[in-house]
């Protein structure tokens, strides 16, 4: 009951604060070489977009389920979210208060997608996410810096980071926080690169990403952090609700401009 009241109060105050939209940052488009998916010489071009500065938090998601009962823990269709959906919540509209400012987790792709759409946004594509996430505090693309890679990798190795609060670390080049270090994040096309579960048979039609095949298909063999992200994405199905997986939204430049 105490939690419930607390959550209620928190939710109320949060609602007031968040009445204005979650802050977004402009990511200027450009070209980059992703870890997977294209030949090394080819680059992928990414158009400019706005991205949420932080992952969606439990408090923010609470307001969403308040307005959209079909996404509450007890109401959600099993087709759209498995049994672990909002696993840390102790009710349809309450969760342990210390999680309010932590990234919402145990969220299915369907739920994340619906959340973004209700805000007039969408989930980022893998390329957009990776493009924004290759920046460090000072550079658009810090991937050549081994220290940057090590830092990201370290973050992935620390257990239970989903309990950390958002916005506690410096913004990256674009003004975005927490792309690394808290939770994995859903992407709209998370399953577009299929790690077949056998990462050593690249060159076959089913471009596997396990073991050797994973290595053969990759453009940057030292980017272990990226390997882990791609492996993680390919292990998912859209209804999965995973403890270490959250999300954030993006909008296209035009939509965002019209809105302003």
């Amino acid at each position: 009951m105490k939690t419930l009241i607390m959550t209620f109060i928190l939710g109320w105050s949060m609602a007031a604060v968040m009445a204005q939209e979650v802050e977004m940052a402009l990511v200027k488009g450009g070209e980059y070489s992703p870890l997977y998916g294209v030949e090394k010489e080819n680059k992928v071009s990414v158009s400019s977009f706005y991205m949420d500065k932080r992952p969606v938090t439990h408090a923010e998601f609470l307001r969403f389920v308040e307005e959209h009962p079909q996404w509450r823990k007890s109401k959600v269709k099993r087709l759209f979210a498995d049994e672990r959906y909002l696993d840390l919540w102790d009710g349809d509209l309450s969760f342990p208060e210390e999680l309010a400012e932590s990234p919402v987790n145990n969220i299915s792709w369907f739920a994340a997608k619906a959340y973004c759409e209700c805000q007039g946004k969408r989930l980022p594509y893998v390329d957009e996410w990776e493009y924004a996430a290759m920046a460090d505090e000072h550079r658009k693309d810090a991937r050549r810096d081994s220290l940057y890679n090590v830092k990201v990798l370290r973050g992935y190795e620390v257990p239970k980071t989903y309990r950390k609060k958002v916005a506690q670390t410096p913004e990256n080049y674009w003004g975005i926080q927490d792309l690394h270090g808290l939770v994995w994040e859903w992407t709209k096309d998370f399953n577009s690169i299929i790690l077949t579960g056998e990462s050593r048979n690249n060159g076959n039609t089913d471009q596997g990403m396990f073991c050797a095949s994973g290595a053969l298909g990759a453009n940057d063999l030292m980017n272990y952090a990226a390997f882990m992200r791609y492996a993680m994405r390919s292990s998912l199905k859209a209804k999965f609700s995973v403890t270490n997986l959250g999300f954030r939204c993006v909008t296209d430049l035009k939509v965002a401009d019209n809105a302003h």
Binding site: V150, V158, P159, T196, F210, G214, A215, M228, S235
Partner: protein, 491 residues
């Protein structure tokens, strides 16, 4: 009378011949049968009928499940949980291991050839990563890797029939594979032949692995995985059963003198091959590479990464047998050392211990002239400043320029400049940065930097040279840094 005797002899002779012939024929037949059993193909085992079903018992090292004995091939159900958890690597050192079943190596799986295994793999919801399992005993896509690929908080079931007897490694095969294996994701699966392996008194499960940590061997605290060291195949730890103390102290193996001992030994790697040896014993039998071929009287057996061997010996006398990787620096400096305590009665026919102690005088019992103190080493040639600058420049271009740039200007906001840098006014401070590394906020020429510089693995001579180069370039103050100055700052 004589004739009769002769007849009798003849008769007996024929009888013996007859018996000989019969036994001869029998033993021949037996041998043929044995060979026939040995050459039974995987094809044959693939078609063995399964009689009944049972839940398989999996065990954490150093234990193994009970032998299969005479049981027929069955359907075997087994479950394995994947856990990512912190545990002790050495005294005061911990590491986040990724494990099959909560131990390194993972749970031991024991099957009989022809068994059909239904394998459930469970990835704990708190885990950060997807995992899978590639069992070398499995014939099929990726050894089951594809079928078992499982996201955190999910479980999967797949099935296979074991058709080749032997001792096999299993491991995780999810990208980045090297890292999954380096973090401890390997174990052994035994496929026993029909009728089982010959019975012994004791069986143990031991597996070697190499680990790559950010800190050096023994450096205290939670140690992160060091990708670069792994790629360079330069481990800080080479250990048995997951940690430096994995097979010693309270984890030491124990047996009694006279017992027949079998060790199921595997090497998870990820990189190093093992020269496995037991100090104070000779292997009576080695199932080479875990297969059918048996070698006898072996001192050291080579076990490749991702390979195995079955070792058998009788612990003849009481002693502490020491298990080592006979690539011996690994044993004494990286942890590849385990103890098998054999208790029981002394056997002086085999080993008598110390019988006499005396002084050895090769030249006879006269007073010897003492050699001069120490060795007369030639003093190293003193290097001039110019020599040091030249040698230091080469080092700089290997180790430093990527961040500090060839012109010493650094990278704005990321890596501080060395050119005309006030940080260098304090020579000790500069030396410390090179030999101990530097992290956290510093101010150079009025600008703040917050980054990490790793400690450079340089000798005193090398560190002196590279610093002398820096001090004599880009309008710095021309200090000559000597190896003695470096040595003073070593901790």
């Amino acid at each position: 009378m004589v004739m009769e005797n002769l007849k009798e002899y003849l008769f007996k002779g024929y009888l013996y011949l007859f018996i000989l012939l019969i036994t001869g024929a029998f033993s021949c037949e037996q041998k043929q049968r044995e060979t026939a059993q040995k050459v039974k193909s995987a094809d044959y085992y693939a078609n063995i009928k399964v009689m009944g079903e049972m839940k398989a018992e999996l065990t954490a090292p150093p234990h193994v499940p009970p032998p299969v004995g005479n049981r027929p091939a069955k359907k075997l159900y087994m479950e394995m949980e994947i856990l990512e958890e912190e545990a002790e690597m050495a005294d005061g050192v911990s590491y986040v291991y990724w494990t099959f079943g909560g131990s390194v190596p993972g749970s031991f799986i024991r099957t009989r050839v022809g068994d059909v295994v239904e394998f459930k793999i469970k990835n704990h919801p708190d885990n950060k990563l997807p995992h899978n399992i590639d069992l070398h005993a499995v014939t099929g896509q990726g050894g089951g890797a594809e079928a078992s690929f499982v996201a955190p908080g999910q479980e999967k079931v797949f099935s296979f029939k074991v058709i080749n007897p032997g001792l096999y490694v299993y491991h995780c095969a999810t990208a980045p594979v090297g890292m999954h294996v380096a973090n401890g994701m390997y174990g052994l699966i035994l496929v026993e032949p029909e009728g089982g392996l010959p019975p012994v008194d004791r069986e143990f499960y031991v597996m070697q692995g190499d680990f790559y940590t950010e800190g050096k061997f023994g450096q205290e605290g939670l140690q992160a995985f060091d990708m670069q060291k792994a790629v360079n195949e330069n481990p800080d730890y080479v250990v048995f059963n997951g940690s430096v103390n994995g097979l010693s102290g309270e984890n030491a193996l124990a047996a009694k003198a006279g017992e027949n001992i079998r060790i199921f030994f595997g090497n998870g790697g990820p990189n190093l091959a093992s020269s496995f040896h037991v100090i104070g014993e000779i292997f009576d039998k080695v199932y080479v590479e875990g297969g059918n071929f048996v070698n006898e009287n072996v001192q050291t057996t080579l076990v490749p990464a991702g390979g195995s061997a079955i070792l058998e010996f009788v612990a003849d006398v009481p002693s502490n047998l020491v298990l080592v990787d006979h690539s011996i620096f690994r044993a004494f400096n990286k942890g590849a050392l385990g103890i098998l305590t054999v208790s029981g009665e002394e056997n002086h026919n085999i080993f008598r211990g110390e019988i006499m102690e005396g002084i050895y005088r090769p030249e006879g019992s006269v007073i010897q002239k003492m050699p001069k103190d120490g060795l007369e080493l030639e003093a190293p040639k003193e290097m001039t400043k110019e020599d040091r600058v030249a040698a230091g420049k080469k080092l700089y271009m290997q180790a430093c320029f990527a961040c500090h740039q060839a012109n010493g200007e650094g990278v704005p906001n990321a890596f501080p400049p060395l050119a005309d840098a006030d940080y260098l006014d304090n020579v000790d401070q500069a030396i410390d940065a090179v030999i101990h590394g530097l992290s956290g906020e510093i101010t150079v020429n009025g600008k703040k930097y917050n980054n990490i510089m790793p400690a450079q693995q340089l000798s005193n001579e090398e560190a002196a040279n590279v610093l002398t180069y820096v001090y004599n370039s880009w309008e710095n103050n021309g200090t000559l840094v000597t190896p003695e100055m470096i040595n003073k700052r070593r901790r």
